[in-house]
């Protein structure tokens, strides 16, 4: 190798990318040629200069990029995962969130994860996101890094016939943190109690919801289904245990829609134990209408 050939080979030599034989030749030449050794030094300094000229993004850029990416991927995973995850997370949220700590309604929460784009629902402009802290860690630069899960609230519109709308309402009807949301959701669902899922949700609310307004609304929703076996089976329990007289009165009205022998005993028992005079009066008048003896046990 002469000097020109060696100078051409220096760059690849420094990167260790010369074939072994060429590498040996370069080294042999360098050994005996001070001018080429100087050129090698210069090339090495250039490499260091390249290293120092490396452009480094500002430290918080990666966190911003992550935030945007995770928001985008969490907002549109595959359809099946989306649904599964939506329900799972909602359940987790019930457990973790103290009641009323975060005014994040189930509809808003789920809408970020459900395939609204595919469902043909109209979307209004998004509201600012609600953030939940996922993890925190010290930053090498001495600061702190915090990962936020941001939930963007969105208003969606659609018919009650829409399966997705119904699912969202059913979920909202179980949102333990927000009784107002449960009442509104049940009010919207109450004309659809012929649907099995809706009826189950209404029954669940009527018998177990801790808010009397919600129980009453749910029971109203079941009025049209008073003769359905599941509804009928639930009424005696409501009459015995519900501490709200309006709920009990409504339950009586629903019970007597189908006047059969079985309810007489139940009503007669109620006359004896019902503490609310209006409810007692109501029970008596029903029994009289049924021509049953008030005092018979």
């Amino acid at each position: 190798m002469n000097c020109t050939e060696v100078l051409d080979a220096l760059a690849l030599y420094l990167y260790g990318e010369l074939p072994p034989r060429a590498e040996e030749e370069v080294e042999a030449h360098l050994h005996g040629c001070p001018a080429c050794r100087d050129a090698l030094d210069a090339q090495q300094r250039l490499h260091h200069a390249f290293d120092r000229a490396r452009a480094v993004p500002r430290p918080d850029l990666v966190a911003e990029c992550r935030g945007e990416l995770f928001r985008r991927t969490a907002a549109r995973p595959g359809w099946r995962q989306r649904l599964a995850r939506a329900w799972d997370l909602t359940r987790v949220r019930w457990v973790l969130r103290p009641a009323g700590a975060l005014a994040l309604v189930a509809v808003g929460f789920l809408s970020a994860r459900l395939p609204l784009r595919d469902s043909g629902l109209l979307r209004a402009p998004a509201e600012p996101p609600v953030a939940t802290v996922r993890w925190v860690e010290p930053d090498p630069s001495g600061g702190v890094r915090i990962a936020l899960d941001e939930t963007r609230r969105r208003v969606i519109r659609g018919s009650l016939e829409d399966r997705l709308i119904e699912k969202l309402l059913l979920e909202a009807a179980r949102d333990q943190a927000n009784a107002g949301l449960r009442v509104e959701s049940i009010d919207l669902l109450k004309d659809r109690s012929g649907n099995d899922d809706v009826r189950q949700a209404l029954l669940q609310a009527a018998t177990h919801d801790r808010n009397p307004g919600v129980r009453l609304k749910a029971l109203e929703g079941l009025k049209g289904m008073a003769s359905h076996p599941e509804v009928r089976a639930a009424l005696p329990g409501i009459l015995e245990r519900d501490d709200n007289e309006n709920v009990r009165i409504l339950a009586i009205d629903m019970l007597v829609q189908n006047r059969d022998e079985q309810i007489v005993g139940l009503l007669q028992g109620l006359v004896g134990q019902e503490e609310n005079s209006y409810v007692r009066m109501r029970v008596r008048s029903v029994l009289e209408e049924m021509k049953a003896s008030v005092g018979t046990f």
């Binding site: 051409d8 000229a53 452009a55």
Partner: protein
């Protein structure tokens, strides 16, 4: 409180979950696994895109598009190459596309107009570190500007090969595979790149 802290720390120090397992979890649709996978690579991906493109907006775009492609196509990843290779192939080609588009539009973001001109924030941490010695400040700033010009003189392909070899430390063989070309072609590309930069940087010594 103390118990909570103790429970957290070992989890953070625990050895990294086997990457195959992590990728399989992502393929099953586990969002947490996806986020963990992203976290283990994204700093390097962003660093490479930013150094190569020297433009925050373009680097952001490459970051998003690269990981969205991973997200969309992870189910077709068959472990016949390393995930690192797969990811860097995506990133490299996105950067190359970006450089090519820029060349067509004759755009050159964050251009340092003269070697003496003020440097924008593109040259941040490394420069500041190098500039700790005040006597070398001006010299380093000038040098960085000249290197930026030298890098800008390269074709998108030469620039990309130089990035992968010099800054990412990949072998030319791997670079050839990443760019769907031969090791020899990658070598010629690197050779042309260094020749050109020597010309632009002139009497640097």
């Amino acid at each position: 409180m103390a118990q909570e802290a103790a429970a957290v720390i070992p989890a953070r120090l625990a050895p990294r979950v086997d990457e195959h397992e992590l990728i399989r979890a992502v393929q099953r649709g586990d969002q947490n696994a996806f986020e963990a996978l992203v976290r283990s690579y994204d700093q390097n991906v962003l660093g490479m895109a930013f150094n190569l493109l020297r433009c925050e907006e373009d680097a952001r775009d490459v970051y998003q598009e690269a990981f969205l492609r991973v997200y969309r196509h992870i189910h077709s990843f068959r472990f016949d190459c390393s995930f690192h290779t797969w990811l860097y192939r995506i990133v490299t080609n996105l950067c190359l596309d970006c450089l090519r588009k820029r060349k067509i539009r004759k755009e050159e973001p964050a251009v340092v107009e003269t070697a003496e001109g003020p440097l924008d924030r593109t040259y941040s941490v490394e420069e500041e570190r190098a500039a700790a010695d005040p006597e070398r400040n001006l010299c380093n700033a000038q040098l960085a500007g000249r290197i930026h010009l030298a890098l800008a003189a390269l074709t998108p392909r030469e620039r990309t090969v130089f990035e992968l070899r010099h800054y990412q430390g990949l072998r030319l063989k791997a670079i050839g595979e990443m760019l769907n070309t031969s090791e020899e072609a990658a070598k010629n590309c690197l050779f042309r790149a260094t020749q050109k930069m020597r010309t632009v940087l002139g009497d640097f010594s």
